[in-house]
Structures are given as C-alpha cells and as structure tokens.
C-alpha cells in the first residue's frame, strides 16, 4: 500500500446522496480477476450522460471527490475503491460513509475524510464555482484546507499510522502469530470444520 501523508489536488463535487457501490462500479465489472483497469467502469451509468460532472473537461485530472452523505452504501465490493483509485482519486470527502466502504478505502490507501455537512457544502460550492480550486488533505495535521476553508477531521490513530507508513495489515497481524496459535489451541471442539483434518 502506498503511504499517504498529504495530498493537494483539484476536486470533483458530486451532489448526490446515498451513492451506492453499484453506482460507483456496476456489477458486470466485478467479473475481472485483477485489481486494476476499473477506471472506465467508475460511475459508468452516469458517465453516459455528457452533462455528468466527471465528463466535464475542466474536471480532468481532479483527485479529490467531494461527495454527498452516505457515500459507498450497499455491496461490500472493494472494486469500488479500486475504481476510484484507478481513475486517479486520492481522497474522498463526505459527511458520512458506509462502514464497509470506509474500511476498504483505508486498507487500500484511499483516504476517506469525514467532515461536517456544512463544510462539505462549502467545499462543493467552492469547487463548483471554481474548477481550478485546490483542496489539500493533510493527514499529518488531520486537516482539510481550501480557499477560505480550514477544517480538521478525525481518524483513529491506528488507521492514521498505517496510512502514513503505507503498512500492510497482514504483515502487522502475523507479528501476533503466538497469540493466534494460543487462541486456536483453546477453541472448543464443538466448533464446526469444513474439512476433516
């Protein structure tokens, strides 16, 4: 996983609430067996409409998505995160994320930032008016900055540390091998097994 310290980029304001993962990446894209190449599937249905914000030439190269509340609801597909990343997004800002989506994003180094709806509104207004306006997402200072706006955000210390250092969860967990083995040794015999061993 790539480390995330601070990022500055132009934004895409997405004024929709309840954007579910079926909208972020439709199911037929889930047939791929790799983690890349999902950029063309991102918001596929909406992108057929040439007025859709992602299709506007001035949004090209934008890296921060400023979304409406309840972003990432629905299916647990991690492909939604990969699609956003493959497209070039580094951070998503919303007042509320669905749990699984949030977990997936932080595991992949896509920073999901929770801000008050008022601030999200202000960021959307700013970037709607001025497509050149940049947003800085500073994980070290836990702060989002844009012209006339400074807002701090929360992120638990553990997730922050992993993101800042780009650490992979599995290697961290494997350091607890002894604890896992000790737990396994005392599991009750009535717990089911899928195979005879």
């Amino acid at each position: 996983m790539e480390a995330f310290t601070t990022h500055t980029g132009r934004a895409v304001p997405l004024r929709r609430s309840n954007v579910d993962t079926d909208q972020i990446i439709p199911a037929h894209w889930l047939k791929k067996v790799t983690r890349d190449g999902f950029e063309d599937g991102l918001f596929e249905a909406w992108r057929k409409d040439e007025k859709f914000i992602l299709n506007q030439p001035e949004r090209e190269g934008a890296t921060v998505l400023v979304a409406g509340p309840d972003f990432g609801t629905g299916s647990s597909r991690e492909h939604a995160v990969w699609a956003l990343q493959n497209y070039g997004f580094k951070a998503v800002i919303s007042s509320r994320f669905a749990d699984i989506f949030r977990g997936n994003s932080l595991k992949n180094g896509l920073l999901t930032v929770v801000l008050d709806q008022k601030i999200v509104d202000a960021l959307q207004e700013l970037t709607e008016k001025d497509p050149e306006a940049e947003i800085t997402v500073d994980l070290e200072a836990r702060e989002v900055r844009a012209e006339g706006i400074t807002a701090s955000f929360e992120l638990d210390e553990n997730s922050r540390w992993r993101l800042l250092n780009g650490l992979d969860d599995i290697s961290i967990t494997l350091q607890s091998e002894d604890d896992i083995a000790a737990y396994e040794a005392k599991r009750p015999s009535f717990k089911p097994r899928t195979l005879q061993v």
């Binding site: 929709r16 609430s17 309840n18 579910d20 079926d22 909208q23 439709p26 199911a27 037929h28 889930l30 047939k31 791929k32 067996v33 790799t34 983690r35 249905a45 409406g68 509340p69 309840d70 609801t73 629905g74 299916s75 647990s76 597909r77 991690e78 492909h79 995160v81 509320r96 669905a98 749990d99 699984i100 977990g103 997936n104 595991k107 992949n108 638990d156 210390e157 553990n158 969860d169 599995i170 961290i172 967990t173 494997l174 607890s176 604890d179 896992i180 737990y183 396994e184 599991r187 009750p188 015999s189 009535f190 717990k191 089911p192 097994r193 899928t194 195979l195 005879q196 061993v197």
Partner: protein
C-alpha cells in the same frame, strides 16, 4: 454491568487486545465465492502465503452462474474466467469448493446454514455484504472487502474496531399475511439506509422469537440495507431444533457442550444498548419499495410519495431522482403499478419456506398475461427439496419458469437480467438503479406479495386475489 449478545460473541473471539489498536478477532468460518476472492488469492500467491485454516474455509459458485443449461459451458467468457479462476485457486490452495452442478452448490448464505456450518456464537465472514444473514443464529457475521478476504485467508483473524450495539425490539405478533420481509422493509424505511451505521443490530422481542429460522435469516440478511454491518438474533430452541442433525452440527457430547454454551448467548438483563428502536408488530402490513434504495418503501396500501413532502433537501432530491428512474408519478397508488417480471429467489427469500409460500398462492392460478415469473431456489438442495414436494410442478403449471440455484436476477452478473425500463417485483434485497440489469426497475417485496403480483400483474397482496380466503384480512 451486563453485556449484550454482540459483546459476548466479540469478547469470546479476541485473540489480542491492546490499547489504541483494533482488537484482533478470530474468525470461525470463512465463506468464499467467485467474485470477491480472485484478487485475494492473487495476493497470497504474490507474498508466498498459504491458507491458514482450510478446515474453516469453504467456497461455492453463485453470482455468475447461469440458472439454465448448467451442464453446458458458460456462455459469457468473462463469467467463465471468474468461475475457472475460483476452481483453479481452490485446487491450488486446497479449499473445499462446491461448483456449479454440485449438490451443495448455491448462494453462499443459503449453503452455510443449510450445511449446519453456521452456528450460534460464531464469527462468520465472507466477501459479500449479505453475510449478515448468518447472524440469525446468534453469531457475529459480516461482509468484508477483498483485502480482508486475503487477511482472513492468511491469518484466520481480522483487526476490527468494536461496533456499537442497537436493539430493535419488535413487540407483539405479526398480523396474518405479514412476513419477515415486510417487517425488515418497514424497519429500514423507519431508520433509513444509514440508520444502522456503526452498529450491530440485535433483533429481539416477542415477534422475533416467534419467527422460524428462515424468517430470521430474511431479517438479518437485510441489516446491511439499514447500514449495519451485522444483525443478530439470540439463539433459542428454534435455533437448536434447526441445527440438530445437520451435516456439520455437533454430535453427541459435543452437541451437549455446544447447547450449554449457546444458551448463555443472550443479552444480559442489565446490559445497555447504545441505541434502541421499538416497533409494534400489529401495526405492520405488506410493505413494498417504490424508489431506488431499500429505505424508500411504504405499505402496499399507500401511494407513491410526493418528493415535495420531504423536508430534508437531499432526501427530496433522492426521491425526485428515484421517481424519475422508476417511471412513477407522485400520488399513484402502489397497487396500480404494473410489473413485467416477478423474481422469487436470492439469499433473502430463496429458501424452502419462501418457495412454499409462493407456491401455495400460485397453485391452481395462472401468472398474468405478459408477466414472466422466475422461481430460483437459493441452493441446489432447496431446489431438490422443492421438487420432492412438487413445488416445481405447481410453478410450471401456473406458467412460471423453474430454474437452477444461484443468485440469478438478484444482480445483473449472470444471464437473468431485466431489460432497460423493465419493471420487476423481486424478493431480493436491493432496488438500486441497474441492480437487476441496466435500466431495470425493481420493487422489493415478500414472496407472498411476489406471488400475488405475478397472478394479478400489478403490485398486490395475497388478500387481493379474488378468491383469497377471507381470513387473510390485509
């Protein structure tokens, strides 16, 4: 202070706990399917890791599988690659797999419980959000992303932050003709698609205690549609009776030890939930969705709402967009909505009781002209059971299509899809735009409403069938 059911199960699975870090939880059962596992196996391969506990892992094929001609090669090359990838991965790593055509194949959330692999007090995960289904047995069961699938494969654990708990107490008794599906749709409409976020929901109260295991699974299945990762119901005699004698249920002394433990799995009297919602079962009636998220629902007797009636601006906008997509007018009676297709199936309502309920209503009747009805058992075993009871014949005689097990029309990944603009009444769990096929319009309903709708051609409840027994009263 006492603990809630969720807290007890959580505490029993903590492998490691340290200040300021997520708890490391042990996972008792890991279910796999073809869609969310390829990249996880790839990750293992790249880092030279093995599956730590093959004996706690099981895979099945469901999302991409066709429900017709299953003995022929799969037509869609991309789906075929995904299924072949799972078969290769299972063979290479030694994972137990039930492929298409196997008697234990089916939707992953139907297969686990039916084998008796899902038991009270367990932690169950799967790269699929409807893993919440398994919470019906009183375990912690939740969907995970592909990175977490890889993590569980490699370590049989997951680092997780303890969720908050919410009690959803359903008092009284569901009126006749009102099902678990109507109840969960009403709960989601009440608390919203984000209402359960950050919580494990515990469904309790007398109405829940009276439900069968299958109905409990329907409820827990849709917890995710309320934003919660998991839903659970305390195990009781209904749970034990369902499990006893299943292939993977404990036997002999193990059974006694298990039951003794399972009996401790209930929320203590003095435990406190972080939130509580109370529902009176008697006030409920058949419930359907009119919009494009599962929270946009109303009693069947109601009308399509007017977006202008929403105070919240983003809800108003969402309702406007939904009506436009669904091709509906504000104020239109829900019963006047005509459908093209009826789908009975999925991990929400594709179990034997669901098929029996639908069959009972279409028996001796005909599916309306111009309507196609698809009946898809949730698993191959459910299909066999239905055939042994003659339900397939009942459906076919009524003019419905009887199919092989799989996710089918629950999502547009296999050949069973809606055409653009086509409208369905579906017993599945998601009415998102395009979920059942590009441009398809979905109304979520119970199997009973689905069957009545198929016969009448418009959204309807069993009581609307002209020759319905008078007692139905809904």
């Amino acid at each position: 202070m006492g603990r809630t059911l969720a807290e007890k199960v959580w505490d029993d699975h903590v492998v490691r706990r340290a200040e300021g870090e997520p708890d490391l939880l042990f996972i008792d059962l890991h279910l796999l399917h073809e869609v969310t596992s390829p990249q996880a196996f790839d990750g293992l391969r790249k880092s030279g890791r093995q599956v730590r506990r093959l004996d706690l892992t099981i895979a099945t094929e469901d999302h991409n599988t066709p429900t017709l001609d299953i003995d022929k090669p799969i037509a869609d090359p991309v789906s075929r690659v995904q299924l072949e990838t799972l078969r290769k991965n299972a063979a290479e790593f030694g994972v137990r797999l039930h492929p298409l055509g196997d008697v234990e194949q089916g939707v992953v959330h139907v297969v686990g419980p039916q084998l008796g692999l899902t038991q009270p007090g367990m932690t169950v995960v799967c790269g699929d959000s409807h893993t919440s289904t398994h919470g019906a047995f009183g375990g912690l069961a939740f969907g995970i992303g592909t990175s977490q699938v890889e993590h569980v494969l490699a370590t049989q654990t997951l680092p997780l932050v303890r969720p908050k708990t919410m009690a959803i107490t359903v008092n009284g008794e569901l009126p006749d003709g009102v099902t678990a599906k109507d109840l969960i749709l009403a709960i989601i409409a009440r608390i919203g698609t984000g209402g359960g976020q950050g919580y494990v929901l515990e469904y309790r109260g007398s109405a829940i205690e009276k439900l069968s295991m299958e109905a409990r699974m329907t409820i827990c299945n849709m917890s995710i549609e309320a934003g919660a990762r998991a839903g659970m119901i305390a195990p009781d005699q209904t749970t034990f009776d369902y499990l006893e004698g299943r292939p993977h249920a404990p036997k002999g002394e193990d059974w006694d030890a298990a039951v003794a433990y399972w009996k401790t799995l209930k929320t203590d009297e003095d435990a406190e939930f972080d939130a509580e919602v109370v529902i009176e079962a008697a006030e409920l009636s058949p419930f359907v969705t009119w919009g494009t998220n599962p929270g946009q629902g109303a009693p069947l007797s109601a009308h399509v709402p007017d977006p202008a009636s929403y105070e919240d601006a983003s809800e108003r906008l969402a309702a406007e967009k939904a009506l436009e997509y669904m091709g509906l007018e504000a104020g239109q009676p829900l019963r006047s909505i005509k459908v093209d297709t009826v789908f009975v199936g999925s991990c929400t309502n594709g179990r034997i009781e669901d098929l029996r309920a639908a069959a009972e209503l279409v028996k001796g009747r005909k599916v309306a002209d111009g309507v196609r009805m698809l009946v898809v058992p949730g698993s191959a075993r459910v299909g066999l059971q239905a055939v042994s009871e003659g339900l397939d014949v009942v459906f076919k005689e009524a003019g419905a299509e009887w199919r092989h097990a799989g996710c089918s029309m629950c999502l547009g990944m296999n050949p069973d899809q809606l055409a653009p603009g086509e409208r369905s009444a579906s017993t599945s769990n998601r009415n998102f735009e395009g979920r059942q096929g590009k441009g398809g319009r979905t109304h979520l309903v119970s199997p009973q409403v689905a069957a009545a709708t198929a016969v009448l051609g418009h959204l309807a409840s069993p009581a609307d069938l002209s020759d319905a027994p008078a007692a139905a009263g809904v």
